[in-house]
Symmetry: C2
């Protein structure tokens, strides 16, 4: 039984967190340095952007957690430390400084950065702030840590759940930053998850790699894959359950808890996409297989025309069909059905690949809500998939176009 | 020697054209029915959208030109005749009516439609208008025909060239519609090209299929592939050259003329993309092979973040690097160089995958122009490619989002 609880990345036993303004960002009211610490050694797993241009912190993190363990996560906002000649050296220095402040080894530090690309990252303010940040870490620090990784996110994103593994109560929680933009960089998605569930590095990696295929990899704000995306999980075993080191009931329970947290964070990231006024969800049912279901869900959620129509609360199902048609998926377009769903109701607009009469008035009412599901049914099989995105708005253009004018 | 000349689709000998308002569109000042006619039998070739949802007219056209010949092109705007149960029957009826008005066989008619999807197309106004449209066809009718296929295009698009094949002067010209939006449909690209050069259906098909790979397939306004895209060429041989029926010097001369016209139309379509204020061109040089060059050029031109930055005249090279990195192309990102070029000058902003000092003032001046080239150099080989697109603006969102609100 999975229950939503408070505490974010500090909900799990043995985790402390905090965030401060150290001076990378000019606005003193914006936190720009966050730290998460496990009081016990922890299994660690991470997944990284597939962009060939990779931020220096990702390269250092990859090396540091190659042994499957880590104890701390340090992350700054305001500078991505990417495309800099000295980037790796600076990222390693951040690990050393964090390790010294916490009394752990530099190889046990996960490092991340988000913000400006191609501008040298001065480590001085980080060095100055880390000792007091480390000293001030607390069980109540998750929200501060969540704030410290925000760029132009409008809302802090944290979530935690409790669940049972072999009769033992465990906790798992995460914080995330979504699509914020800091000149002259692109959006970055960062997610940090902690759990006190005992799980081997190998199974933790398997759980994360499996989960992201149907969660973070199914989110799109604007189709641009960042250079600095990263999802990291630390699992310190403080809950006292028998270590999960193989598939089975316990692993499934862990996967379910992880999925609850990641889906929640996906929805928050999508809803807080740049300029977004609406969370869009596309559910695909009846696909030939999961691969085709995913291709279709993602094609619909990525379509600029679908996104703009949703901004205008326009029941423009032709654009949904068009996006299905060019997705590259194996699909019989003559069997496609489309409905729009929100808390104001549900309306079927397309059946068997052709339009049907529907009430424009009811459609408008449904689409004026801020969470819209585009429900696609195919007649090709039993597979399903869900993707998340947001509408395309004037503010998206403003944030990304008018930035310096 | 290729020379730009007047006359559009009527520049080639033996072609007549015209366009009228027949009543499909409510606005009486907008033409909505166009006709192009070859006085002689002509070789015909066409390429169609790869969208699995295909407009009914495309299916009928494909059947009609399966013998490699056609004599007329009829096209309406205001209704796409797509996703309609009776779509094929209506498209066939349009061919019959056109054939009757011109005294040719229905199988020699190419039919196209653009506009509303999923709404039945009433053939009555077309039937009423065709006899007088056919009777009024003229050598001066290209501009009228170009207007009749426009939807929300802001500019009529026509171009023609003269060239020599085996010492004989030939002409080739085209009209196009770009990305206009008519509720509730998506954009459609239609291109009709005529030539009096004598060329076999087989070689005409080869010329067109080869050419579009580096022209129309390298244009993107918003990444959404329409259901009704089509490019058609009619070649009636009126110039009197020896029929081109194999590769060689004559075929190369024809290809060069065709490419001059198609590149010109590509640029016009991109520049007149929905809401566009700027034509964007991405040139990629030094790629490993042509495939990788194309993938990179297209990834840059399709990036919402690059497009929005260009709207804001922001020299945001990090977004260009990001788009190269996630393109999926084989590329050594450490060797990438980026410059921005316009009629106001040229500025290098990235070398060897890292930023270099540059004058923000000069960059701004260059990017404030309405035709921008993003010049990407790789160090991976000798292959090149060019892609065309436009900036992402408030008006794109307005046209596609606010349509009914």
């Amino acid at each position: 039984m999975i229950k939503i609880i408070d505490g974010g990345v500090c909900a799990a036993k043995g985790f402390l967190a905090g965030g401060v303004h150290c001076g990378i960002r000019k606005n003193r009211t914006k936190k720009d340095l966050s730290l998460i610490f496990s009081e016990l050694p922890a299994s660690a797993a991470a997944v990284y952007t597939t962009n060939k241009v990779k931020g220096a912190p990702l390269l250092v993190t990859k090396k540091n957690i190659s042994d499957g363990t880590a104890r701390a996560i340090v992350c700054n906002s305001g500078n991505a430390n990417t495309c800099n000649a000295d980037g790796v050296m600076i990222a390693e220095r951040m690990c050393e400084l964090t390790a010294a402040a916490l009394g752990i080894a530099p190889e046990d530090v996960v490092v991340a950065s988000t913000g400006v690309i191609g501008q040298p990252l001065d480590v001085t303010p980080i060095a100055a702030a880390l000792p007091s940040l480390a000293a001030g870490l607390s069980r109540g620090g998750s929200a501060s840590a969540a704030e410290g990784i925000m760029t132009t996110d409008t809302r802090m994103k944290e979530i935690a759940v409790s669940f049972e593994v072999g009769g033992v109560s465990c906790r798992l929680g995460g914080i995330a930053k979504g699509s914020g933009m800091i000149h002259p960089n692109m959006a970055t998605m960062l997610v940090f998850i902690t759990t006190d569930c005992a799980i081997s590095p190998k199974m933790l990696k398997r759980a994360l790699s499996t989960d992201i295929e149907s969660t973070f990899n199914m989110v799109s704000v604007d189709g641009d894959t960042s250079t600095n995306d990263m999802v990291t999980v630390l699992a310190n075993g403080a809950a006292g359950n028998a270590v999960i080191d193989a598939e089975g009931e316990d692993f499934s329970a862990f996967m379910a808890a992880l999925n609850t947290v990641t889906v929640n964070l996906c929805r928050r990231i999508a809803a807080d996409g740049e300029g977004a006024t609406k969370l869009l969800e596309c559910t695909v049912k009846g696909a030939k297989d999961e691969k085709n279901a995913k291709i279709i869900a993602k094609s619909v959620i990525c379509s600029s025309l679908v996104k703009a129509a949703m901004f205008g609360s326009d029941a423009n199902w032709g654009r949904v069909l068009c996006a299905i048609g060019y997705s590259g998926a194996e699909v019989d377009v003559c069997k496609v059905g489309v409905s729009f769903v929100s808390r104001s109701g549900e309306i079927e607009v397309c059946r068997s690949g052709a339009g049907i009469d529907f009430s424009e008035e009811l459609a408008k009412k449904i689409l004026l809500e801020d969470e819209i599901t585009i429900a696609v049914t195919l007649g090709d099989g039993e597979a399903e998939s869900t993707a998340w995105g947001c509408d395309l708005t004037y503010d998206y253009v403003k944030i990304n176009g008018d930035y310096r004018t």
